[in-house]
Symmetry: C2
Subunit: 249 residues, 2 copies
Amino acid sequence: MLKKNYKMVIAYDGTRYKGWQSQKSTDVTIQGKLNHIFSELEGEKVEVQGSGRTDAGVHAAGQVANVRLSVEKPVNEIKDYVNFYLPEDIGIMEMKEASEAFHARLSAVKKTYCYRIFNSGEPNVFERKWMYTVVEPLDVEAMQEAAVYLEGSHDFAAFCRRRSKKKSTIRTIYRLEIVRKGKEVDIIITGSGFLHNMVRILAGTLTEVGLGERKPLEVRQILESGIRENAGITLPAKGLILQCVEYET
Amino acid sequence: MLKKNYKMVIAYDGTRYKGWQSQKSTDVTIQGKLNHIFSELEGEKVEVQGSGRTDAGVHAAGQVANVRLSVEKPVNEIKDYVNFYLPEDIGIMEMKEASEAFHARLSAVKKTYCYRIFNSGEPNVFERKWMYTVVEPLDVEAMQEAAVYLEGSHDFAAFCRRRSKKKSTIRTIYRLEIVRKGKEVDIIITGSGFLHNMVRILAGTLTEVGLGERKPLEVRQILESGIRENAGITLPAKGLILQCVEYET
């Protein structure tokens, strides 16, 4: 039967999941939950293809995925069916038919992540699960100064966990903004794609700059060194959210 | 030893608690958690006095309480000590020494509650624990029209669970606003005090008006009848948040 290709925008609170990518041993992944429900609907095993993995505990407001289905239902009914069976910490925000060629991972051209820091010694009762707390005041201007060295195309080997020697560690950051909104400091990064833990290591390094533990210029030296140990700590997953994935229209 | 009286502003995510008021059989109350930590600090049993109870599952951004302590520490150290031992879903936002006469419940003159409705058929992944979902579009103007009949001093017997025949059910609502912010509709109520479940029954009745199931004028008739069965449903606790408690200065 002819299968149609559907594009979806998916939001999830990653707190209780072992990340996006389905694992044989566990159902506690976002892709696993989606695969299961779409397969029930389709009557045979189907696989949802995401724009990329997100690690355990990482959230998404705008993960994108595609799935091929032969089931004959209007797209809004499919969306409502799947949302009905999904747990309430995962939701399909948008769903529409896409071209046959659309592939959520291969067609993606830009991704934007946000790392959210609660920069206060006060309790953060309502957003504690989606922000990382830094008590000492962050110097946002110093962070912005450091961010300039990271924009553009660079070898980000120093900002990457477990690098594969075979694969390129060159990536392009189109925009890296640090924005203070009251007690919140957001690190917003748009890039062509990201290496493993890259955003969390960049955020950790920029936070050390914001705390005065490093000078902004050091970030350029770290980048040039290509040595992971020279960069800052990997900040916890809970502050990270995949905001959106962009495609050529 | 001379005891000082302290005033606190407390925030809590009420999701996993059996309400504010401590119970002998369980520690899973907000007051119970606070009593326990303050008693450890003081070295003897002390009791935190709240401005009033909140029911199981109800949240607070600005609950107010007072406690009398003889421990000799600066107030900020006391606050930090208690916040350190509190679970992360309860936090003391402010704490300061108050006059001997200050009593969080008896001195309160106004309270403001907000009932938050997510008015959309979309999933509400990140705020699902603090909002009640109504899928059909609410007619906010009709709700505002109905709200006018509720403002002022009235006998709210019809909007009250388990009324005690002995106690007065007359209360004053100083302000009742319905505000749409995108997909969110907030019912914000400031009053002299509230009967048991009063805000949740008012919110349920106003929601029925917003859905066109009742005419705005009916709200006046319900009020005049004094009969609980004439009013709308009690909306779930999770949408309700105690915003602030005001005192004469």
